[in-house]
Symmetry: C2
Subunit: 394 residues, 2 copies
């Protein structure tokens, strides 16, 4: 047996629980029942199969289905969710008047089942409670992400040594994945939304960067199979192309998100220019982004700069463009807020956002830089401090 | 632009559509609206973001959101599902009286949205339509899985060469992953159920095999982080231990599922015995499993054999045991049918099932073999024909 919440994380979990409490108040809910993997991990710092009930009145209750060896205060083993009300009664916890369930993360079948379990309650969508709670990170969470970034940067520093002339994009990607895994990457990218699928991230070279993909990642690529049409496709890396690396920063349950681009020998002037434009946009975002700023204002300013430089047709894709320039990052690769044309969310201190102004230049490849930042009162803190130049891989 | 269904797959898609039609009839539905990734891939042989409407009356309609470059008969671009009824009207297709939606695969939020789109129809769970259609494979699908198995076996043959004395389980797993990727593995394991998470599969050594995991995989393991508690944990591979490899056979959108176990030097008699018991169970399953046989009968016979040999306490886990000995495999790693104590499903010709009688021996590790089979009229066809002995890695 081992403790469901280890001693050294008790204060941390208390902070997160407070955050959930304040979101319950804002959403006018008495409780939320958590069961999606990412939210279980947020609320307990581990993944287990089961349910966490957070009410405004009491400490969280951990209803565990699996694994069989957890113990601790308020830890109750169940076989199925139908046992939850009885177990609550035994603990003297009243059935909440209004309870939130994770409508945005769980299947229709699972939610319908849970609705029957709480038939006496008013039931509403509780996904926003967790989404908002997770959006602002604790200092512990930020430390985890900084650790991710340190490992990720150690690997990125070795990328020029991993490249061998004549390699395909897939071969270089596999070499980087291998290095990431040896550095401690978990090899699994947790994303929000069942329709996002990716392995250890993406590497894009030449015209493959311009192949539209069905996924909501910032860039496309044909991939290796119509079954998983994203990223590297087997294109040989040649002189005159760019190599964009946007690979996994997932080492500990959190993630950093970091893109760097290299060139192979000389690339056309427009590739150099667009890459510098990405950096100019990042500097502008770093100057603008403060608590209270609306996410749409960041997006629109970035678009404006791309337009000023005559690069709007290549910004955030070319054959297929996406309408965001950044997103929250943390437990999931894609969290709130998203920096979109009409995003009305306001930045808050403690948010962690990846900003990725990228371009696709036909015949050359993708250009641009992505950094992960912490929103601080007086600055954007870059946790991915790594050279940004379009350096020559040769 | 490229065709949504390439010429060489038109007959194949027609076969799958027929299969869906016959399931619609069985489920008394007029249509099903497909949108989950695995089912989109089944119904079109590619993944795109959007919806496929299969009605009993007309050819499938492909409502594509992304990517932007598909074309073909009955291919309609939409931005959002609310456009579907209007587009159906333009095509002269009536709104179905009873439509199935993927309750078991899509979120509550997405299904509620689609229910509004089809407010005039009777709406029921359509997940079973696709689950049943996919359960019986076409010969083309079986060929894909055989190709997966050939690649996977080529890698497994190299495992003894990848092992270096003093390696940890994680290091050997990374070496095998690297080899799998170079062999063409996609590096992503599609599973059914948002709560299943794994990278390229699992490698278990020594007592880590006995650590319970929250996931519904056959075996456990502590993993590298409480965020992803499954599989290899950093345990050093030592003499007297077993090394169980259950890693990715996903090369083309389908998967083969293959487990082999090695020993390091001499292992206790009970490890050798349990491994041979696994093989005995497989031979028995190969003799029994024919169209018409109930899945529970296979499970119960396997349990009986493990009991006869005095190995019930170690069968399908030790500290935490699971109640299945096999499962369908195809696009998802875990498909129907599942071989459980009370499974009333009957085998049918063309089903592809992985059978994995495994043991966990405390102090030693996991033992046993997993093969992927095609159910034929007169036999189980093993597509993972690879030596089964508990061979010495040294």
């Amino acid at each position: 047996m081992y403790p469901i919440i280890p001693d050294h994380l008790e204060n941390e979990i208390a902070l997160r629980t407070e955050e959930i409490h304040s979101q319950l108040e804002r959403h006018e809910l008495d409780a939320v029942l958590i069961t999606s993997n990412a939210n279980i991990f947020y609320a307990s710092a581990r993944y287990f199969r089961g349910y966490i009930l957070v009410t405004r009145e009491s400490a969280p209750i951990y209803f565990v289905v699996k694994p069989s060896q957890l113990e601790g205060a308020n830890t109750v083993y169940i076989r199925k969710p139908e046992q939850i009300p009885d177990e609550m009664a035994k603990l003297g916890i009243p059935i909440p008047a209004a309870i939130g369930l994770e409508y945005d993360a769980m299947t229709y079948t699972e939610i319908e089942r849970l609705k029957k379990v709480f038939a006496a309650s008013e039931i509403r969508n509780g996904s926003g409670v967790l989404r908002n709670a997770r959006m602002v990170k604790t200092e512990y969470e930020i430390e985890q992400m900084k650790e991710d970034a340190r490992h990720q940067m150690a690997v990125y520093e070795r990328i020029p040594k991993l490249w061998v002339e004549g390699m395909s994009d897939v071969e270089l990607q596999i070499a980087i994945e291998h290095d990431l895994r040896l550095e401690g990457a978990l090899g699994y990218t947790r994303t929000f939304g069942a329709q996002m699928e990716i392995n250890c991230g993406s590497l894009l070279v030449g015209d493959n960067a311009d192949v539209p993909s069905p996924y909501d990642f910032s860039m496309g690529g044909e991939g290796m199979s119509p079954a998983l049409p994203v990223g590297a496709s087997g294109e040989i890396i040649r002189t005159g192309m760019t190599v964009m690396v946007d690979m996994s920063g997932a080492f500990n349950g959190y993630q950093s998100d970091l893109t760097r681009t290299w060139r192979v020998g000389d690339v056309p002037e427009i590739a150099m220019k667009s890459h510098e434009c990405s950096r100019r946009i990042l500097r502008e975002m770093e100057a603008m982004a403060r608590p209270g700023v609306m996410t749409c204002d960041l997006y629109n300013r970035a678009m404006e700069i791309a337009g000023e430089e005559g690069l709007a047709d290549y910004f955030m894709g070319h054959c297929q463009q996406v309408a965001f320039i950044g997103h929250g990052v943390g437990i999931d690769l894609n969290e709130s807020p998203v920096l979109t044309p009409r995003g009305k969310e306001k930045l808050e201190a403690g948010m962690t956002i990846a900003i990725e102004p990228k371009f696709v230049i036909p015949g050359v490849g993708a250009t641009g830089v992505e950094n992960t930042y912490v929103v601080r009162e007086d600055r954007l803190e870059n946790i991915t401090n790594f050279p940004e130049e379009l350096a020559n891989l040769e």
